[in-house]
Amino acid sequence: MPLDTSTYSLALLRLDGRRWNELRRLTAQISTQVAADGSSYLEMGNTKVMCTVAGPSEAKGAGGVRLGNDRADIRVSISIAGFSGVDRKKSGRNDKRLMEMQHTIASAFAQNLFTKLYPHSTISLSIHVLSQDGSLLAACINACTIALIDAGVPMHDYICACTAGSTSSYSSNDETADPLLDLNTMEEQELPFLTVATMGESDSVSVLIMETKVQVGRLEGMLAVGVDGCKQVRAILDGVARARGTKMLEGSRM
């Protein structure tokens, strides 16, 4: 095994050669599936996800009964490919972690999208995880944002997410721990981390999840780095969306 996270202090370099405040390579493509109402493909390092949007469409219950209420219902389904992780695993439909992620994404976008415009309808987001290497929830959220833009669903702002961690584990309790941005799997397994999503430019946090223990004193630094990371993510996603827009305008002119 090469160096582990305990050597951070020696070089101020992480396992993959990044500094504490650097994102991995983040690339996104928009409108990847023409058949879908909106679609996207996003890579954060080796975490690769695809997202397609169906809707907003009229929600029909059994027997053609109109369902729902005065606003659009957001449904999220995540499927993880068997080959996406190191071990080939089949994840069940009722995987609690997946259900929680689906719920988190749905409620985040319920706040952000103008769902009132689409009463009695459903917006379905289906996410396919092709490869996992940390920051999975963040990647899913970012992919959804792009796909929803592609689908043309009006929203307040981009929801951009990333993870933030701390360079030393809870128990080693190093006073001089640095915060870290955008963790990969190796780091997630060893270090405390949180996933944060903000509404675009603003500092308003729409998702904040942390499942590991960390000293409360380090939390502020982690959150600050995370929020800052979200802004960097927004700039990249915005670039992708704008490039697409420019291209569409050019296309329509022809």
């Binding site: 500094r19 390579r25 690339t27 493509q29 128990s171 001089t176």
Partner: protein, 991 residues
């Protein structure tokens, strides 16, 4: 349809990203393919003070702090590189000679490449840790250069290229980059090309050196490099014997004297399916040809007989063994076999055609086998096994002396034998060119390897400690031998001490934050009772009557946790040291002197912070109430045990303090009785004290320690405090309390002793419970021989398990039990100045009483487990070191004297016996051949434990029998130690 394929050209990162793909197999046997990204950068600094370009974009951490550059602008030069040079060692250079790099005379300005560091870590964790230590020391100027993250020095592994070749290439690439980069840096600095230091690759790999020459890189082998240094002669010895001669030998097809080890995967599968067993290899104390290994599958330890079966395992190694078929099972050996007598006068240089088992060894073993076969004592055969592989070597530096007979007169480099002080470690072959100088010295060596074609392990010389029997050298040897950290405390640790130094006082104003939540107990009549001359006073006591007829008793412990904060440098150092070590003439402290003997020490007449446990106790020694609090106390007097005893006995003394001690004494006797009733064991270990001349600290006499009532007084209340605290911290932190347990010994441990007592004295030893054992030990008396009971207790103590520290979450509650004390739960709380476990207990107790929030470090199970593992080892080593020190001084005290003393036979072999001499607390081995010349013939009755001799001298000794021995001192050739030698005079007592 948009293609998902991304175009790499448009990606600004593309050239900087590489990915590492590697395959690993898990423990469960699965194969995993791991893909990892690698971001290559150009801002990894060279860390040379010559370079300004790197300084500009050097990395900063989150708080904006820049790591200082380490490599000096004017590095030292050698004959070859007069302009100055930086060193870049490859992995093998470090593996072979890390000791060299730790030298003070040379090896400065060294660049450690990441590639090398990672490889070293895979090869040897201890060496890796030592190297990390070097990179952290400022004076040595070692810099870790992360070459695999720098764009210019990153090297991909081509198809079909071995990982070693790839790494060698990476090293060469980095060296080349460094020299070019430095040339540029110097040019940029002064506009012209000034003195550019050479960057020299150090390697012992011929192929690598050859390629380096071709690439025009400065490079040389270790030997070549060291030759060019001023201190060459001394340093050359420290280079491990590189396998230069190997190639020539291979062609001659040397016969292998040992069997090859199995592959790791074969061993793992074998262990898993039960055909092989894993355990720690131990060598028996009296017979170096017999090893034992305890494995879960067998009740009794497996025996490993002879060199061939041991197959290069060294005492302490974790090995895998295969059990031999039943017809090869043997009875436990009853013979003393010592390496020195069997393999004397071997030539260390000779290596060709030697067999593992020398002829003489063979003969010794054969006699054994014959004896076993002639007897058909059913069921006494023990399973035997042979070593098939080694999981983990426990090789360490060892201290010893050079076998004089192996040294030839010539000044040329030669192979000599080093005889370790520890008899359980085989002789080590060492190549040296200073043989003549180091004869008669205590020397430190490291074992490097033990090849299949070699009878002995090969090592290299590290340094000489001084003359054998020189007090300083012997003390250092002892400390090294037991891995005691004896170097002075580093500056970082001393910086943690209070700035006031010895002038520190308890703040006079009770408004001071130091007083917060502290109870003022300065009015209490507190005193301490310790051995004479004790400076680190951990504990003090008080007692006073309460109006309701009960007593208030307090145990006050030095408040070390106030001064030693978790995770400080001082805390880290203390946790590594684990315990203070007490030698006869020296104390190696766990904490700096300022704390241990002054600020924490509960000295009399001054105010001190303390951690107090206070109980209300009825006159019948029932505890009504207990509480714990941080406090401020003022001890009224520091007594020695003897002084306290005199005061108690002197009825004219009626002052408060004396009355309090009497109360404590009465209560302690009741507590002791209760413990005994519950089944606490009163065990015995031989304890003697060496009296020293006060001026010269030369030993003058040996006394057995006298037991005083006041000793048990202190002991009882310490036990009470420890048990109360254990219960308290366990209730507060059920998962992470720091506790101490003493496992019940397996019955098989006592089989031998029980059998001996039954056959020799008709006594029954019952071991069903500690109570039963305690009771039956009480019955082991010989009306004519008062010492007999103590002897049995000493022997029983050796059958016990060792007590150990543990973290409560790792054991089930019933396992918490302390067998010897017959206590359900126990911890160490009362000596935080000299034991780290107590310090942890203090922190946990402080949190349990809401004095301060619990620190993460003392409630993380993983971390506590690591602490326990370390302090268990340290604790044991400290005991062994203390004992060895006494042994050494007993030898010194007897120097030149001859006395006759009574002793008792503890163990009988077929060719010797062991006598325990209570007067000096020593046990010594008397072999038949020591009795007379020629060696008398011995007749050994294993069932009756009787050894009779015929021929040149006729004697009869039996187990537990009393004998008279003549004691003198000799310099033992085997270990170079001055030891007490006993000569047999006669059976029976002294007139």
């Amino acid at each position: 349809m948009t293609s998902l394929k991304r175009s790499l050209v448009s990606d600004p990162y593309a050239s900087n990203i590489s990915s590492k793909v590697y395959v690993r197999s898990t423990k469960a046997g699965k194969v995993q393919k791991i893909v990892r990204e690698l971001y290559l950068r150009q801002d990894i600094p060279c860390s040379s003070k010559l370079c300004t370009a790197c300084l500009k974009n050097a990395p900063r951490d989150a708080s904006g702090i820049l790591a200082p550059f380490v490599l000096s602008a004017k590095p030292a030069g050698t004959k070859k590189y007069t302009q100055g040079h930086y060193l870049v060692p490859d992995t093998n250079a470090l593996l072979n000679a890390l000791d060299l790099f730790e030298q003070k005379s040379a090896f400065y300005d060294v660049i450690i490449l990441q590639t090398v560091l990672e490889e070293l870590r895979n090869r040897s964790i201890p060496l890796y840790n030592r190297l990390i230590g070097l990179t952290k020391s400022e004076e040595k100027r070692f810099h870790v250069f992360f070459n695999d993250f720098r764009l210019e020095t990153y090297v991909t592994r081509g198809e079909g290229v071995s990982i070693n070749d790839r790494n060698d290439r990476a090293v060469r690439r980095a060296v080349k980059w460094y020299s070019e980069h430095l040339a540029q840096a110097v040019k940029a600095a002064d506009g012209k090309s000034g003195q550019v230091p050479a960057v020299v690759m150090l390697s012992d790999d011929k192929e690598n050196l050859k390629k380096a020459k071709k690439d025009g890189i400065d490079s040389c082998s270790l030997r070549e490099y060291v030759d060019g240094l001023d201190d060459a002669n001394n340093l050359l010895d420290m280079i491990a014997v590189v396998k230069e001669g190997r190639e020539i030998k291979d062609t001659k097809m040397v016969q292998k004297v040992h069997k090859d080890y199995l592959t790791v995967s074969k061993m793992m599968t074998g262990v898993k399916n039960g055909t092989l067993h894993q355990g720690i290899f131990n060598v028996t104390p009296y017979n170096y040809l017999v090893g034992s290994i305890k494995v879960p599958a067998f009740d009794k330890p497996l025996m490993i007989l002879g060199r061939e079966s041991m197959n290069r395992a060294v005492h302490g190694d974790v090995v895998v063994v295969e059990v031999l078929t039943k017809d090869q099972w043997k009875e436990a050996s009853t013979k003393i076999i010592e390496e020195e007598t069997i393999n004397k006068d071997e030539n260390a240089d000779a290596e060709d055609g030697e067999a593992v088992v020398t002829e003489r060894e063979q003969r010794a073993l054969q006699e054994e086998v014959k004896r076993v076969h002639s007897k058909t004592s059913e069921g006494r055969a023990q399973p035997t096994a042979k070593v098939v592989g080694v999981i983990k070597r426990n090789w360490r530096q060892c201290v010893g002396h050079i076998e004089e007979s192996s040294v030839s007169k010539s000044g040329k480099p030669q192979m000599v034998f080093l005889i370790p002080m520890d008899k359980k470690i085989p002789k080590i072959r060492v190549r040296t060119r200073q043989a003549a100088e180091i004869v008669g010295k205590r020397v430190l060596v490291t074992i490097d390897s033990w090849d299949v074609d070699s009878r002995y392990p090969v090592g290299h010389f590290v340094r000489s400690l001084g003359d054998v029997e020189n007090k300083a050298a012997e003390t250092e040897a002892l400390l090294l031998e037991y891995d005691v950290q004896y170097r002075p405390f580093p500056k970082a640790v001393l910086d943690c001490l209070p700035a006031e130094g010895h002038d520190w006082i308890v703040p006079p104003s009770t408004d001071d934050p130091g007083w917060q939540d502290r109870r003022d107990l300065r009015h209490l009549q507190i005193c301490s009772i310790d051995p004479i001359g004790c400076q680190d006073i951990d504990d003090a006591l008080h007692a006073r009557p309460l109006p309701n007829g009960n007593f208030e008793v307090g145990v006050h412990i030095a408040d070390v946790s106030h001064f030693v904060k978790p995770n400080s440098a001082m805390d880290a150092e203390a946790s590594i040291r684990g315990t203070s070590v007490y030698l006869v003439d020296k104390r190696i402290d766990m904490l700096p002197m300022l704390l241990g003997t002054d600020l924490c020490s509960l000295k009399p007449y001054v105010q001190r912070y303390a951690f107090s446990a206070i109980w209300e106790i009825t006159p019948d020694a029932e505890i009504v109430n207990s509480e714990f609090t941080k406090s401020v106390i003022k001890s009224r007097e520091a007594f020695s045990y003897e002084q306290a005893q005199l005061r108690v006995d002197d009825q004219s003394q009626q002052d408060d303090l004396t009355l309090a001690i009497r109360t404590l004494l009465t209560l302690s006797k009741k507590f002791k009785q209760k413990r005994m009733d519950a089944g606490a064991l009163s065990l015995s270990s031989p304890e003697v004290k060496v009296e020293m001349e006060s001026e010269t600290s030369d030993p003058i006499d040996v006394k057995t320690k006298k037991h005083l009532d006041t000793m048990s007084l202190v002991e009882e209340f310490m036990l009470l405090a420890n048990t109360s605290v254990a219960a308290k911290i366990y209730s507060a932190f059920p998962q992470t309390a720091m506790l101490r347990r003493h496992g019940a010994p397996p019955k098989t441990n006592f089989e031998e002793l029980a059998l001996q007592l039954k056959t020799k004295r008709g006594l029954e030893l019952s071991v069903d419970s500690s109570k039963a054992l305690a009771d039956s030990l009480d019955t082991c008396i010989d009306p004519n021989e008062p010492f007999f009971n103590t002897l049995v207790r000493i022997m029983a103590t050796r059958c016990m398990m060792a007590a150990e520290y543990f973290c409560s979450g790792t054991q089930a509650y019933p396992e918490f039990r302390h067998y010897g004390l017959a206590s359900e739960i126990y911890t160490h709380f009362t000596s935080p100045i000299r034991r780290y476990a107590d310090l942890v207990a203090h922190r946990q107790l402080a949190a349990a009483i809401d004095y301060e929030p619990i620190h993460a470090a003392v409630r993380s199970k993983g971390k506590l487990e690591a602490v326990c593992r370390n302090i268990n080892v340290r604790h044991r080593n400290a005991q062994l070191a203390g004992r060895a020190s006494i042994e050494y001084y007993v030898g010194q005290a007897l120097k030149g004297r001859i006395v006759e003393e009574e002793g008792f036979v503890m163990k009988v072999f077929s060719n010797g016996f062991v006598v325990f001499v209570p007067r000096f607390g020593i046990e010594s081995l008397i072999r038949l051949r020591d009795l007379a010349e020629p060696e008398p013939e011995g007749v050994f009755d294993a069932e009756e434990y009787v050894l009779e001799t015929k021929g040149s001298r006729e004697i009869r000794v039996e187990l537990f029998g009393k004998v008279v021995v003549r004691i003198s001192d000799v310099l033992e050739e085997k270990t170079g130690k001055r030891v007490v030698k006993s000569e047999f005079v006669k059976s029976g007592g002294k007139e």
